[in-house]
């Protein structure tokens, strides 16, 4: 199949109609920072491209009493500069800032990052740690699904050809709660994560961990929650000993998951420093 048409959509309705009409012969293109490469490498060969990069309807960051919602076409530059997301959600900002280079961040979108479903997608661990939901629309209607369920595997997400992701939504951090992020890339810009980690933490006045959600990237076939590690922390004070126990557990998990890979030794060693730094930063941020 060769590319016949590119539709530059102005409204969501237009997109839903096009997707409905062309189904699996169509491909959404947002920032295009993954799609263009896949086209060139002939990994995909859609008949029509539906360009949603100008779709202002799904380019927004919204704040309500207890929720924050980010439109799928919001770029990483917008996320990095958002006044809504700073402070308690610093982890989200840091992950957006760590993507590629300024040029990439100006084009690349949060929706594209999630739907491309790379194991190293930088925005995925923070959103998993936030227990975010994905909002999806098609001509037939709307649905919502936990990101953790939406991500199915390397390059695979739970979406039908007629559907589009319109937004991502999650609960706002409450008092003494915060989101942190850490990434190991091999250089300071344009570095694909070798390891990324995100921690959502809720601490009480005694420094005891009320709630914690940990998600890592680039250490499995998709970004994933580390529930076994979370269990180590819950109900305990964040002492040096507890942190070290958590790190030991994390290493065990990675060791199993990465067994047989050439990167296993490096990643199970290096995760300690990245995780610990992110955890301590998050804990500090909870108190502020």
């Amino acid at each position: 199949m060769s590319l016949k048409n590119v539709y530059v959509a102005k409204t969501l309705d237009e997109v839903l109609n096009l997707l409905n009409q062309y189904g699996c012969e169509s491909k959404l293109i947002a920032g295009g920072t993954d799609v263009i490469i896949q086209l060139r490498e002939k990994e995909i060969s859609p008949k029509v491209l539906v360009d949603i990069s100008n779709l202002s309807e799904i380019n927004f960051i919204d704040e309500s009493e207890d929720k924050i919602t980010i439109g799928a076409c919001t770029t990483f530059t917008t996320i990095a500069e958002s006044s809504i997301l700073k402070d308690k959600l610093k982890g989200l900002v840091q992950s957006a800032e760590s993507v590629g280079s300024p040029q990439i961040r100006n084009a690349a979108t949060i929706g594209g990052n999630i739907c491309n479903a790379s194991m190293a997608a930088d925005i995925v661990p923070p959103l998993l740690a936030l227990d975010a939901e994905v909002l999806i629309e098609s001509k037939a209607g709307k649905r919502r699904i936990l990101l953790d369920h939406f991500l199915m595997g390397k390059g695979k997400v739970d979406i039908k050809p007629e559907e589009i992701v319109t937004a991502i939504t999650f609960n706002k951090p409450k008092n003494r709660e915060a989101l942190g992020f850490g990434k190991l890339g091999l250089r300071k810009a344009l570095a694909i994560a070798r390891i990324s980690t995100a921690i959502y933490l809720s601490l009480d006045e005694e420094n005891t961990c009320r709630k914690i959600r940990i998600a890592n990237g680039a250490v499995g076939f998709r970004g994933m929650r580390e529930k076994e590690v979370e269990n180590i922390f819950i109900g305990k004070q964040l002492t040096e000993d507890v942190i070290n126990m958590g790190i030991e557990k994390l290493r065990e998990e990675l060791n199993q998951r990465l067994a047989g890979r050439s990167s296993a030794e490096f990643k199970t060693t290096a995760i300690a420093g990245i995780f610990k730094k992110a955890l301590l930063e998050t804990a500090n941020n909870c108190k502020e």
Binding site: L184, L186, R187, A189, R194, F266, T269, A270, A272, K276
Partner: protein, 332 residues
């Protein structure tokens, strides 16, 4: 834990083909009808700035503005061979050939001028700021432009100067190891401060200093540019650029995996140009193209040793290699 270390890497490098191999550069300098001088030379501009500095050299000998030099290179129909833009040899070798060609043209210009000026000889005639004049009586003068017009009328153009320079090197005796395989040598030293993260294996270059012997700086700003570029390349070689050779095959065949430093990875480089004119060099200049990158890796590896006490003997020092080396060290 983050650990700091300081390292120095010092190198000396013989420029040119060396070891007795004929290293020849040729050049032609031609007086044009409008008094401008065309330099025909086989030096290839590969971004190192040869066009600029070689034009400067010609302008200096001919004592005319840089804009009056027409530099013709990279067209084999119109130029003599000046060898490759390799071995950091163009400034020294081809610079010398251009200097010789321009000196030859300058002599011919003066000889023609004394005839035009109807003097007894060329003694005391000099060429300065585009004018040929008698030092003892400057009102006896003719500009290059006027001279060119006269020569044109007399059908004596083009006036051509030629130069050829062969570097002096002597093959090493295989038995004794004696000889003089290179001349000249260029000296360089780098100092770096690194910060090694012992938990992730990441290396951060915090500060870097380069002192570069240049003989004589023909164009100081361009030498600084070469130092910045050489440092970035040397840095890539030290800690990033990994072909991933496996049984002779490259694993990292694209810039996703073969990492070169980005602007954020290259710290400010403090630069010192050391001038000690080389007596056989054009205006004392020597080549610095390759020398500016050689000292980086030894300096970085020494700094890593200073920081964490581990001698790494393989580049690039990627985080996984460094962590492995640290682990082995702990085991011993």
């Amino acid at each position: 834990m983050k650990k700091k270390g300081v390292g120095i890497g010092s190198t000396f490098y013989g420029t040119g083909y060396g070891n007795g191999f004929p290293d020849v550069s040729r050049a032609k300098a031609v007086l044009k009808e409008d008094g401008k001088v065309a330099v025909h030379v086989g030096a290839t501009e590969v971004g190192q700035g040869s066009k600029t500095i070689m034009s400067q050299m010609a302008a200096e000998v001919m004592s005319i503005p840089l804009n009056d030099i027409i530099f013709i290179c990279e067209d084999t129909k119109n130029m003599p061979d000046s060898g490759t833009a390799a071995a950091s040899r163009q400034t020294y070798n081809t610079g010398n050939a251009i200097k010789l060609a321009c000196e030859d043209l300058r002599k011919k210009v003066i000889e023609n001028a004394f005839k035009e000026l109807k003097l007894n000889s060329s003694v005391g005639l000099t060429l300065k700021n585009g004018e040929i004049y008698l030092k003892t009586l400057p009102s006896k003068n003719i500009s290059l432009k006027e001279l060119a017009l006269c020569l044109l009328k007399n059908k004596e153009l083009p006036l051509i100067g030629e130069g050829s320079f062969t570097a002096q090197t002597i093959e090493m005796d295989e038995e004794t190891g004696q000889g003089a395989p290179y001349w000249p040598y260029t000296f360089n030293v780098y100092g770096v401060i690194v910060e090694v993260d012992t938990e992730t294996g990441l290396i951060d270059i915090i500060k870097a200093v380069c002192a570069q012997d240049v003989g004589k700086a023909i164009n100081p700003e361009m030498i600084e540019g070469q130092m910045d570029g050489g440092f970035a390349m040397g840095l890539g070689y030290s800690i990033y650029e990994d072909l991933g050779l496996k049984e002779g095959k490259m694993k990292n065949k694209n810039f996703t995996n073969y990492l070169i430093p980005t602007a954020l990875d290259v710290p400010e480089l403090e630069k010192f140009i050391i001038e000690d004119p080389e007596s056989t060099g054009p205006f004392g200049a020597k080549g610095i193209g390759e020398p500016v990158m050689l000292g980086v890796a030894p300096a970085v590896l020494n700094a890593i040793y200073d920081a964490v006490g581990v001698r790494i003997t393989q580049v690039p020092v990627t985080p996984d290699r460094l962590l492995r080396a640290l682990k082995e060290e702990r085991r011993e």
